[in-house]
């Protein structure tokens, strides 16, 4: 016997822990999260899902058609006069995108985070927090897209789409929903009780009523206009209204940019929070 070798196990003995890179956050498998979501919708409450579609339709019929008969025509931001129904319909479309995305990313996400421990289970597998965040946000978007398309069909039937660019309202609505969903999920991750989730409605209702939804921004004094313009819904309303009425302007690119920033910021926050909460 002339050669003896022993292979001893090598063990990492790094004293200071460091965190991994993107591989630790993202496994490129959001479709598994989406697949789960689609399968789970089978057991969802369809009455609630459908009511989300009818809410803006009811607003449109009562305010747009009913009240609109008294109001007459209104000027858009670019000065184009349109019927009152055609003025509020795109705003309601933006609002329905917001509501759908917020409902999914606050109530639903909160429940999955705190009660059903769904994310805890997911993150014990090879999924990363970014897979979960992207998958859940995609599902919220899908729901928003279904609502938006339905509403746009109603608008078409009522003759409220004044330009071919109204077709572009669908991607615009998805952009808006994406922004609200990613920000909503980030905010939800800080919440500890259902009461706190309720505060979201406390913010959403005034934003819905005052974001140049039912009348032009110009009715406000300058100071209040700035406040409204800082809030996301106003950008959404202006973007969609420009597209459905055909009153295009360069300012619309600014609205798009606003939502891009909101999406990126929301995603970064959500991923960080999911990591802090479940991979501490």
């Amino acid at each position: 016997m002339t050669a003896t070798e022993t292979f001893a196990p090598t063990r990492p003995t790094r004293p200071t822990p460091r965190t991994g890179g993107i591989r630790a956050l993202y496994a490129g498998n959001s479709r598994a999260v989406i697949g789960r979501g689609l399968l789970a919708t089978r057991s969802s409450n369809w009455l609630i899902v459908v009511s989300g579609f009818f809410e803006p339709v009811f607003y449109l019929l009562s305010l747009g058609i009913g009240l609109g008969a008294l109001v007459g025509s209104v000027s858009t931001t670019t000065g184009q006069p349109v019927s009152y129904a055609a003025f509020i319909a795109p705003a309601l479309l933006a609002v329905s995108a917001m509501n759908g995305a917020i409902y999914d990313s606050t109530w639903n996400v909160f429940f999955k985070m705190q009660y059903s421990k769904l994310y805890e289970g997911m993150l014990a597998t090879s999924l990363g927090p970014l897979d979960v965040a992207l998958g859940e946000i995609f599902l919220a978007l899908l729901r928003g897209a279904v609502y938006a398309t339905g509403f746009l069909i109603v608008m078409q039937v009522l003759g409220l789409n004044l330009s071919w660019t109204a077709v572009l309202a669908i991607p615009a609505v998805l952009l808006i929903a994406f922004g609200f969903a990613s920000l909503g999920m980030a905010i939800t991750s800080y919440m500890k009780s259902f009461q706190q989730v309720d505060w979201v409605n406390f913010v959403l209702l005034p934003m819905f009523l005052f974001s140049a939804t039912f009348y032009p921004l110009s009715v406000y004094p300058q100071g209040i206009q700035f406040v409204i313009q800082a809030l996301p819904l106003w950008h959404g309303v202006e973007l969609v209204r420009g597209l459905t009425t055909g009153a295009l302007s360069i300012a619309m690119l600014g609205h798009v940019l606003y939502f891009v920033v909101m999406i990126v910021g929301g995603l970064i926050f959500t991923t960080r929070r999911l990591r802090a909460l479940f991979l501490d």
């Binding site: 063990r11 004293p15 496994a27 057991s43 059903s116 421990k117 805890e120 289970g121 090879s126």
Partner: protein, 336 residues
């Protein structure tokens, strides 16, 4: 040309004649599946896990025994690569969880303390969807799910809603789910807590089968009978630190006597009677509700006590258990 190759769970060696009187001997020492050294987890100033070290060999069934709040679950979360350590070193399947979290998690099966089954999905879909999280194909998920439904004795409930299952069934489904990715190591955090005795025995039987198939098990428990049933080796943990390590029988042998006499004189009298028992057996332990006498001859000692005119309300002679080991090491009961 001679070549001998032997592989056992304990390691492998290979002998190869190279010719001209030369012989090559390779001894492959198995790498521990889990190696923790001075592992520590602090939440602000509080050390939930305070410098524990242990190694788990392939195919071994290893237990963390300790009361609630001992740091068992925190240790499990670090081993499960879902919690980062504050200091110390940790290697799971040869990888550092700080750098390779997803790779490690892909090879682990996790049964958490609280069931976190997907309540929106049916029994079979729970398994399939979980397999998809690991990136498995739909067809292999479906095949694996059928196999595991059989294993978990849930084949007749595959279309049921999860909410309609009993506690024991949910637990079995959670275990089945944890096996979807053919894990090399199964982490079980308090696997039978909250189950009735019959459900516990069914579960132990399933876990025993896994053990026989060579799955490495790491489990936490505060039930001594569970630890004795399932663990080849265990550490007794208290307040984030390891108090003792060994096989259940060895621990009982080294930290306790063969038998224990349990006497109840009523909570008023226990302390005063205990003074008259000094000198009996190896050691006398007074608990609020009973007196324990550690001895090698329980029946003999009990006879002596009765002959002395002391009349306990109840008396019992039993074998020493891990409960006694824990009491000896910490001065406290395991379940409080």
């Amino acid at each position: 040309m001679l070549s001998i190759d032997r592989r056992t769970p304990q390691g492998a060696w290979e002998l190869r004649a190279l010719g001209q009187g030369e012989l090559l001997v390779c001894i492959i020492v198995p790498q521990p599946v889990i190696a923790a050294s001075l592992l520590t987890k602090k939440y602000k100033e509080f050390a939930a896990v305070d410098g524990i070290s242990f190694e788990v060999e392939p195919g071994e069934s290893f237990g963390l025994l300790g009361p609630n709040g001992a740091g068992k679950s925190t240790t499990m979360r670090m081993v499960g690569a879902v919690s980062t350590r504050t200091s110390g070193s940790l290697s799971i399947l040869g990888l550092d969880p700080n750098d390779h979290g997803p790779e490690i998690r892909a090879q682990l099966g996790v049964v958490p303390q609280q069931d976190n089954l997907d309540m929106d999905l049916r029994v079979r879909d729970n398994l399939i969807v979980y397999g998809r999280y690991f990136g498995m194909s739909l067809s292999s998920c479906a095949a694996k799910a059928e196999e595991l439904l059989e294993f978990a004795q849930l084949a007749d409930r595959k279309k049921s809603k999860v909410g309609d299952l009993s506690g024991g069934m949910k637990r079995r489904l959670t275990i089945a789910r944890s096996l979807m990715n053919d894990p090399k190591v199964l982490l079980l955090d308090e696997p039978t807590t909250g189950l009735d005795p019959q459900a516990r025995h069914i579960l132990w039987d399933r876990l025993f089968r896994l053990k026989e198939q060579g799955t490495t098990l790491l489990l936490t428990t505060h039930y001594m009978d569970e630890a004795e049933q399932l663990c080849d080796r265990l550490v007794v943990v208290d307040k984030g630190a390891i108090m003792a390590e060994g096989a259940p029988a060895d621990l009982i042998r080294s930290y306790s006597t063969r038998e224990v006499v349990e006497l109840r004189f009523g909570s008023e009298l226990n302390a005063s009677v205990a003074e008259q028992l000094v000198g009996i057996g190896d050691r006398v332990e007074v608990l609020p509700d009973r007196i324990l006498i550690y001895t090698d001859d329980g029946d003999g000692d009990l006879g002596w006590i009765v002959a002395k005119g002391l009349t306990p309300i109840t008396s019992l002679v039993r074998r020493s258990s891990l409960e006694d080991v824990f009491l000896r090491l910490t001065g406290r009961s395991l379940i409080e």
